[in-house]
Amino acid sequence: MNPARKRRLRLVVALSTAVVLASALIYTSFSAASPALTPSELLRQAVPGRAYVLTGTVVAGSVHRIGEALDFSVADRASGADAIPLSYTGTVPDPFKEGREVVVTVSKHGSSYVGERDSLITKCPSKYKTAPSSENQNS
């Protein structure tokens, strides 16, 4: 095989490998991803066993610590309706408080919702203008 053909062959092989790997990556990302939902959407769509990323506001008066678990309710950011009570274990970020916006991965078990371990993120409150690239309270 002359050098030019060899080079073209190498290029084709390299490009094909890249395309295959990229496709595998892209495909798995869609199946591994958790949809982001608000409480009202979650109530409508939740399928038991699947993980969802719930975003909303912590309902005032709903926060109780029971042993290792933290129970609280999350309501729609906009309307304040459709509060979903859930039980969460794991790291609780510093800014967590009633009335703050949170992001937590939940799944439905039977009729109750369980928060995935260490998945609670609390958004920095808008009152504070926060720094350029900083606080990570993800776990």
């Binding site: 050098p3 080079r7 190498r10 390299a14 890249a18 790997l21 990229a22 990556l25 892209i26 798995t28 990302s29 869609f30 591994a32 991803a33 958790s34 949809p35 982001a36 990323v53 975003t55 610590r65 042993g67 290792e68 274990t89 794991g90 790291t91 609780v92 970020p93 510093d94 800014p95 992001v103 991965t105 260490d118 998945s119 993120i121 609390t122 958004k123 920095c124 409150p125 808008s126 009152k127 504070y128 203008k129 926060t130 720094a131 350029p132 690239s133 900083s134 606080e135 990570n136 309270q137 993800n138 776990s139």
Partner: protein, 720 residues
């Protein structure tokens, strides 16, 4: 004075507009005085923005709450050092910082190249002024740092307590320096393509800036990780958050660029790769800035209004479009001078290096922007979490570390079998020995961690071999002793050996990352006074609670009102290891609804982590004390009701005493992670190696040669 600041911004906008026109006119009509004028516009921009920064800084230091940004991010109770740093904690202030840093670095770059590459530099000037004008324009029209309110409020909101740490003072300027330094090679790269002058001259000039960008970005990223680990309450240093990823992506392509540049210098290959990488790095730097400032991704950082999103998207689209156009239309100039001779060669290893780094960048890009991608594709927003990132980045990282050991020792053009045997025997032996030692030591069989340790061993073997052979060669030539030879070797070949030191640092860093992620022991639980918890082979006992009223005893100088914590006794096998004092600081808020007492402690609480660090392991502890027990809440409400506002602190003192007298159980987060210190040490070694590599050699001091010595040199060189 706000008027002065705003006036500077307006002037700056005009200067940018004129400068762009002048530079382009100068280069197109061959009138250097216009190009010169354009260059001076960059200097003028730097002056104007310095004045603007000074006005804002002074406003913060004087706590002039007429300025909206000062009122929003600072307060009289914020310590002075943090007041100064609060300038860039707001949207507007950070835009000013970005523009200022860009103007300063651009001035330096243009000053250093003022006598060379006239036409390339002219185009670069126009591009840099374009970026400057964009950011100044954002400030003038969308996010003005000099907006004022009259009458001025009496007190400001205060700097977010999470930011009141020394690391957070230098992290943004360092990171922004990294971002803005990425724009300079982009500008010169585009300038070179526009002027059709993609030659060795261009490479020599921008390599320094690409390297500086790489160094600052890397330092910024590492500082961010260090801050996350030591100051935040979750005990991790990397969470694949959008903002972390945003700064990592240009660093990866920048690394690829610095390596791939060597191949272009030595063999005239990979020219298309190099221009593409330099353009990609600059574009990713802009995208990173956009990600952080526009709130477009629903990460925990939702700053900036949606108003900033549109201009940024237009800029990025423009960058991508023009980059592709330039590279495609100039591809005849970017043809390789040589071809790849063999897949087993240094050139090939560097190409593989490019591919792995770009591949890593692509994975991180995809995962970071996935919410937007899925929204566009499926109509629903979805996100991927750290497990997805880990799945793809870990194998790529393994290959990367392996390549960093292969690259320095593999032969050019074509590596023969004899050659391979000679160069790879020692590194492979070290890797194998590492594997055997690890298996024999009986550590748990975490495959990826062990693989990483072996790859790191491979790197140590190959770099060690390089130093050994180099020293031996030098000694054969100059007959020096070993230490002298080693130093002379490094001094005379700074780029090479500085680079080798960087590789060593990376290997050490990855050892730390692998060990601390795979062999960590964690325990999150609630403890009452006297109780103990077991974490790994350590026992941690909650001895007694602590309560401190600050600001009187504010050791951390962060301006908190009250600090509640614990004394923890750490023992291992009965032997005392350390005493740790984690605590949580409670800060004042502006919320009048909480009452005079409640608002003193109603603000953002911040965890103060306590850890025992050593080369082998870190014992990391954090506490979340329960301040909302019925008894303590009663103290607050009674204080709100009965005490006058100026005596509110008395209630806090009472609260502290009540907490000490009858401490409720507190939540503890306890971690024992091995080799965490190796991560920071590795980073330090990388930084030192980088400095060695970029340090200008002493011999660039001007030397004039006599005709006799020239003749002698000529004779020697010519003997062929």
């Amino acid at each position: 004075m706000a008027g002065l600041g705003y006036g500077c911004l307006l002037l700056a906008l005009l200067v940018c507009a004129y400068g762009i026109w002048a530079s382009i006119h100068g280069v197109r009509s061959g009138r250097p005085e216009y190009s010169e004028s354009g260059r001076r516009c960059v200097y003028a921009l730097a002056c104007l923005l310095t004045v603007a920064m000074a006005v804002l800084e002074v406003a913060f230091l004087r706590s002039d709450f007429a300025f909206n940004t000062v009122a929003d991010t600072s307060s009289r109770t914020t310590p002075e050092l943090y007041r100064a740093a609060a300038v860039w904690s707001s949207q507007e202030g950070s835009l000013l910082l970005w523009a200022w840093l860009l103007s300063m670095w651009s001035s330096l770059a243009l000053f250093l190249t003022r006598r060379r590459m006239r036409d390339v530099a002219s185009y670069a000037t126009a591009i840099l002024l374009g970026f400057g004008g964009f950011f100044v324009g954002l400030m003038v029209f969308y996010a003005n740092p000099f907006e004022t309110t009259h009458p001025a409020p009496a007190e400001g909101v205060g700097l977010d307590p999470l930011l009141r740490f020394p690391t957070m003072i230098i992290h943004p300027p360092m990171l922004y320096s990294g971002y803005t330094l990425c724009i300079i090679p982009l500008a010169f790269g585009m300038g070179a393509l526009l002027a059709r002058r993609v030659d060795a001259e261009w490479i020599r000039s921008i390599r320094r800036f690409a390297f500086a960008a790489w160094l600052f970005l890397g330092a910024g990223i590492l500082l961010g990780a260090l801050w996350s680990y030591s100051e935040l309450g979750w005990g991790g240093y990397w969470g694949w958050d959008a903002v972390e990823n945003a700064s990592l992506m240009p660093w990866l392509t920048g690394t690829a660029f610095l390596h791939s540049l060597m191949i272009q210098e030595k063999r005239g290959m990979l020219k298309v790769w190099n221009v593409s990488l330099v353009l990609a790095t600059g574009t990713l730097a802009i995208m990173g800035t956009f990600l952080v400032r526009s709130g477009i991704l629903d990460s925990i950082h939702a700053f900036g209004g949606q108003t900033l999103g549109v201009p940024f998207v237009i800029l990025i689209a423009l960058l991508i479009g023009s980059s592709i156009y330039l590279v495609v239309s100039r591809r005849d100039m970017l043809r390789s001078e040589h071809r790849l001779d063999s897949l087993i060669s240094r050139e090939s290893a560097f190409i593989a290096n490019n591919l792995v780094l770009v591949g890593l960048c692509f994975v991180i890009f995809w995962g970071t922007y996935f919410p937007l991608i899925s929204l566009a594709v499926t109509g629903h927003e979805a996100s991927v979490g750290p497990p997805w990132f880990d799945r793809y980045t870990v194998p790529l990282a393994l290959v990367l570390v392996l390549l960093s050991g292969i690259g320095p020792v593999i032969a050019w053009r074509r590596a023969t079998l004899a050659n391979l045997r000679r160069n790879f025997l020692v590194p492979l032996a070290v890797a194998l020995l590492t594997l055997l030692a690890l298996l024999a030591s009986g550590i748990p069989g975490k495959a990826t961690a062990i693989a990483m340790f072996c790859c790191a061993g491979f790197v140590f073997g190959s770099i060690g071999q390089e130093f050994f052979r180099g020293t031996r060669a030098r000694r054969a030539m100059a007959g020096e002793s070993v230490p002298v030879a080693l130093l002379a070797l490094i001094r005379r070949n700074r780029r090479r050996y500085g680079g080798y030191i960087v590789h060593l640092g990376i290997a050490v860093l990855f050892i730390g990352v692998a060990a601390s992620s795979s062999f960590e022991h964690a325990n999150q639980l609630s403890l009452s006074v006297g109780q103990s918890a077991k974490v790994g082979s350590y026992d941690i006992r909650y001895v007694r609670p602590t309560a401190t009223i600050t600001p009187k005893y504010d050791e951390a100088h962060t301006g908190s009102t009250l600090s509640l914590g614990a004394v923890l006794d750490v023992t291992k096998g009965g032997r005392h290891v350390a005493t740790l004092y984690p605590s949580e600081g409670f800060y004042a808020s502006q919320d009048a609804e909480q009452g005079s007492v409640g608002s003193l402690i109603g603000g953002q609480p911040v965890s103060h982590v306590a850890m025992s660090q050593s080369l082998t392991r870190n014992v990391w502890t954090a506490i979340a004390p329960d301040i909302e027990t019925p008894a303590l809440k009663r103290v607050v409400t009674t204080g709100n009701r009965t005490l006058p506002a100026e005596d509110a602190l008395v209630a806090i003192a009472y609260l502290a005493r009540a907490y000490l007298r009858d401490p409720p159980a507190a939540q503890f987060n306890l971690l024992v992670s091995p080799l965490v210190l190796w991560i920071w040490l590795g980073g330090l070694v990388v930084f030192i190696g980088g400095l060695v590599a970029v340090w200008p050699p002493a011999s660039t001091v001007r030397r004039r040669l006599s005709s006799r010595s020239l003749a002698r040199a000529g004779r020697r060189l010519a003997r062929a």
